[in-house]
Symmetry: C2
Subunit: 275 residues, 2 copies
């Protein structure tokens, strides 16, 4: 069972003893995907810090902040003893009930996830900046599953000169292809089965990647005929800009997909080498 | 003559030898007001770091970025030998020509200076956050002359959990009351003389501070009859919110004023105890 600090000052006292730190920010409800991040972090630095914080700033008013799973005790039990967990409550991080100073992700924060979830990425970057300033890590480890988040965090680190390295770990999947997510627990049996169309569409794009258009067509063929899926977007983006690639693009793109299964929103992505 | 680092990596190497640091961010063209900040900084920490950077991000398109005074050699000569100066060029801090990730000051960044200079405070906070991440100081010293800047930087430090203390030094003035500013050199003799109405209005507010309205009336009496001044605003604000105080307010307020003298924009402020 991991140790836990609940306040910034308690954390900062404990931080002094840790040497170099690799940091894994999470919203808790830990699964094997998070454990892969923690295992990676353990290879990078003397100590591992995991934050567990369901950040109200990155949830829209109509989103699932209230039902987002919370189980601190269970999470601590899933982590090795030597991990230091920072698990503040909302009042500790937002003593004014809010943060008037925000990080703005700019235009790339308003597409895809940002289009469906206005303000999401500004709220995410704001809490990540706060956590970087509290944890002062040498490394921060993120999961590739949140591809746009990874893109924007990397850019924030570069743009704001945070003195740390971002490390990205591949998405962990169920044997049938479903990307692990804390939200998967909300899927009914039928939704769980319908959701496999997302990872199938990504694999179809990978297999038909002679050009951008053939990859798109292959994925759309699967998504158009899939049952129970309310598709938000499927797109091929340039990982350097997170903007859609043109039809003549060659090289490594990222296929990204988002859809609702009933009331549960899922996202996934995969690398697609075009040409 | 101070030592100087021109790149982030050169600075970071030198930073390792400095112990605790008190940091004075400037745009150069150093005058006695800056030297007061440096002297204060020397009392706070083992080492003093001064940054000299005319930040394009905080100048509007029609503002005086081009004519803002630059004299690195002269500035280095004004600083003690043991000060480390960080003087990057714009490409070093904005290698993409810009920063897509920005700090947003929120509503309090859109009033007063922010109303006259749209984007100014977001640009200022963005470069200050970058400099904090590069310099990693224990203290940062700002001049009270830029009262709204001080308010917003303090709030950013709190909101984003920067682990440092902000220290504020009183405005240095010419014997006749003019607040020192790098822009004063642009004033003609007549403008220089006309500009004294600003500090006179502040003193009038201080002397007539039985109520908010009497302080405002006293200041306006001077500003309305002053020659050569294109007044932008005069206001009494609550230093805790930087919002205008109500007529029944008691306690310490800040009188703030901004005006153009010809093509040169000046700002000033003073504490006013109401009641």
């Amino acid at each position: 069972m991991a140790r836990v600090a609940r306040t910034v000052s308690e954390f900062r006292r404990a931080r002094r003893e840790l040497g170099t730190v690799a940091f894994v920010p999470t919203m808790g409800a830990l699964h094997e995907g998070h454990i892969a991040l923690v295992n990676r972090a353990a290879l990078l630095a003397e100590s591992v810090v995991v934050s567990i914080f369901v950040n109200p700033l990155q949830f829209g008013e109509k989103e699932d902040l209230g039902r987002y799973p919370r189980d601190l005790e269970g999470d601590l039990n899933k982590l090795p003893e030597k991990v230091l967990v920072f698990a503040p409550d909302a009042e500790e991080l937002y003593p004014e009930g809010d943060s008037e100073t925000r990080i703005s992700a700019g235009a790339a924060g308003e597409t895809f996830e940002g289009a469906s979830r206005p303000g999401h990425f500004d709220g995410m970057l704001t809490v990540v900046a706060k956590l970087f300033n509290i944890v002062e890590p040498q490394f921060a480890v993120f999961g590739q599953k949140d591809a746009q988040q990874v893109f924007l965090v990397r850019r924030m680190v570069r743009d704001l000169n945070f003195d740390l390295e971002i490390d990205v770990v591949e998405t962990v999947r169920e044997p049938d292809g479903l990307a692990l997510s804390s939200r998967n627990r909300f899927l009914s049996g039928a939704e769980r089965s319908d959701s496999l169309a997302l990872s199938r569409a990504l694999r179809a794009a990978q297999s038909a990647a002679t050009s951008r258009n053939s990859a798109m067509d292959a994925a759309r063929g699967i998504l158009d005929s899939a049952r129970g899926i309310d598709l938000d977007y499927f797109e091929l983006v340039d990982p350097k800009s997170f903007r859609p690639i043109a039809s003549g693009f060659k090289g490594e793109a990222t296929a990204i997909v988002a859809a609702k299964l009933g009331s549960t929103r899922l996202i996934d992505n995969a690398p697609v080498v075009i040409g």
